[in-house]
Amino acid sequence: MAGCSCHEDDQTGSLWSQITGECIKGELLGKKLTLYPSTFSTFEKSKSMTIIYYLKKPEKEGDTSRYQKYFEDNNRIGIFGHTFSDSLLQTKDRVIGIRSGEKQIAVPINSVRPHRPVFLSFAGQSLLIIADGIDNIACFILPDGKFVNPNIKTLQNGMTITDATGPEMIAFDGIIPVEGTELETYPVVTAFWFAWKSFFPTTEVFTN
């Protein structure tokens, strides 16, 4: 759990782990927050969403992340600079972390490419992970038994996925389901491999 931050709630002063959403200290010790699905995209790509509002902020306060150097420095782990050794992935590989009960799996972000989604069977569920660039990802729950043998057709700005054994089709504009595609999102987090592995030492790792 190198480099994980915690948050404190004002009402009780309890501390909550950002990665696990669990209270680690205080009167709410042991309580868990519900992880809610979110997606990552860019301002340009988000404009196709029907009803979307953007958090107010100072006018174009900067055109990069303040942590950009940290992201790019593979030798820097956390604030203090720990050591981490693992042969499965590179220390600062970015992964999509998925949990279900006591099971976890890490999907390397590089496994998911535009027009090359990842179909994943995990903890009894069929999941679909799609990407439109390294910072545009989303995870959806597929209906049981559907899209087992998917056919993927590339569109100009997205793709369609059909089931070779049936008429069902789902379609995406980027990572956003188009009208008529009804899929439930599944909550995932993105993290550096060292952080995910530290929290979940027994995590599986997805391989193509």
Partner: protein, 104 residues
């Protein structure tokens, strides 16, 4: 919904640590892990009572390639610039009937 402020506390596994010597940092052990308090409460201010731009108005404030974290509830989405969240770490928000803390 609970309001959240931000204390950045760094949770480090024991036995895998090389750290700079700093006797001023408060630390304690929780469930076998060392917890370091590296910032004072509120030093990175969380966002309370967030306000939003429409898509049209946001053009003046957002770069096209600006990365966003997006949360949706019942067809309405809120988008948070992660570059902006770098400075705040957390947004106390509500989308319809859904209270949430968007953390980054």
């Amino acid at each position: 919904m609970k309001n959240w402020c931000v204390i950045i506390l760094v949770l480090i596994t024991t036995g895998s640590l090389i750290m700079a010597q700093n006797t001023e940092i408060q630390k304690e052990t929780i469930a076998g892990h060392t917890l370091y308090e590296v910032l004072e409460k509120g030093e990175i201010p969380g966002i309370y009572n967030p306000e939003y731009y429409s898509a049209k108005d946001a053009d003046s404030f957002y770069f096209e390639n600006e990365p966003l974290m997006i949360v949706a509830n019942n067809g309405i989405a809120h988008a948070y610039s992660t570059w902006h969240l770098d400075h705040h770490e957390i947004v106390n928000d509500r989308i319809g009937d859904l209270p949430l803390a968007a953390t980054w």
